[in-house]
C-alpha cells in the first residue's frame, strides 16, 4: 500500500468515529463535536490528495481553507441555535426538541 492509502484510511477512521458520535449522542453540543471530526477528515483527504497528485498546484489547500471557514460558520450558527433551544425547552437533548413553535 502507498502512503496516500494510509492517509485515506486514517481519514476514513476519523470519519466513521465522527459518524458514530453523531449517531449515538443525544446532547446537541456533543453532536456538534462529531460534525467537526467529520469535516476534519474531509480536510485530511483533500490535503493528502493535493500532495500525492504529482502536480504542484495547491487547489486542495484552497478547498481546505474554504472547509475551515464553513466549519467556523457552522459552529457559530449551531451554538446560537443550541443556546436558543436551551432557553426555550430547558435542555439540549435533541429528543426533547419536538415542536416547531418555540
Amino acid at each position: 500500500m502507498s502512503t496516500l492509502e494510509y492517509y485515506m484510511i486514517v481519514s476514513s477512521a476519523v470519519f466513521c468515529l465522527g459518524l458514530y458520535n453523531v449517531m449515538t449522542r443525544r446532547n446537541a453540543v456533543a453532536i456538534l463535536m462529531g460534525i467537526e471530526l467529520i469535516l476534519n477528515s474531509a480536510n485530511i483527504n483533500f490535503i493528502a490528495f493535493n500532495r500525492f497528485n504529482g502536480a504542484t498546484v495547491l487547489d486542495g489547500h484552497i478547498m481546505s481553507v474554504f472547509i475551515i471557514v464553513l466549519a467556523a460558520a457552522e459552529a457559530a450558527v449551531a451554538l446560537a441555535i443550541i443556546i436558543n433551544l436551551y432557553r426555550n425547552i430547558g435542555s439540549v437533548d435533541v429528543d426533547e426538541a419536538r415542536s416547531l413553535k418555540g
Binding site: 468515529l17 476534519n40 439540549v92
Partner: protein
C-alpha cells in the same frame, strides 16, 4: 522517519477520536477533541501544508473549541457536579460505522490512485494567496459574504428576546 511520525500521529489521533465518542463527560469530550485537532494539524505538517496547520490551530483550537466549551458551560446547570452525557443505540451505530469503515477500506485498497509525490512545497502561503485572488476569487468573495451573514445571523438568533 516521516513514516514513524505518521504512525504515532495517526494512532494518537484515532485514540483521541475514540475518546471523543466514548467519554461520559462532555468537558472530557471537548478536551479529547482538542487533542484530535492538534494531531490533525501535525498530519498537515507531514503533508507539507504549513499554512493550513497554522490555520487549523488558530481557527479550530483557538476559535471553534472555545465556542464549544462556551456552549457546554452555557447549556448546563452548574449546580450539578458533573456534565453527564449518555449514548444510545450504541450497538447498531457501531455495527453500521464498522461496516462503512470496512467498505471504505475495501474501496481505498482496490482503487487505482494517481500516486506520485509532488515533493516539498515551498512557500505554500504565497501560492495560496495568489490562487485565492486569481483562480478562486469568486468562491472567496462568496464565502466572505456568507461568513458575514452567518455571524450577524448567529448574533440575532442568540440575542435575548424582548
Amino acid at each position: 522517519m516521516p513514516d514513524i511520525i505518521f504512525s504515532i500521529l495517526s494512532f494518537l489521533l484515532i485514540l483521541s477520536s475514540v475518546g471523543v465518542c466514548v467519554s461520559k463527560n462532555l468537558v472530557h469530550s471537548a478536551v479529547y477533541l482538542f487533542f484530535s485537532l492538534f494531531l490533525i494539524a501535525g498530519l498537515y505538517i507531514l503533508l507539507y501544508a504549513d499554512f493550513l496547520a497554522a490555520v487549523q490551530v488558530i481557527v479550530y483550537v483557538g476559535g471553534i473549541l472555545v465556542l464549544i466549551i462556551f456552549g457546554v458551560m452555557l447549556t448546563n446547570r452548574l449546580e450539578k457536579p458533573s456534565i453527564d452525557i449518555s449514548s444510545f443505540n450504541q450497538l447498531t451505530a457501531a455495527m453500521l460505522c464498522l461496516l462503512l469503515f470496512c467498505l471504505q477500506c475495501y474501496a481505498i485498497v482496490n482503487g487505482h490512485w494517481i500516486d506520485f509525490d509532488s515533493g516539498v512545497i515551498e512557500n505554500s502561503s504565497k501560492e495560496i494567496g495568489r490562487l485565492i485572488l486569481s483562480k478562486h476569487l469568486l468562491p472567496f468573495e462568496i464565502i466572505s459574504i456568507l461568513l458575514l451573514g452567518v455571524l450577524i445571523g448567529a448574533a440575532t438568533i442568540a440575542r435575548k428576546k424582548r
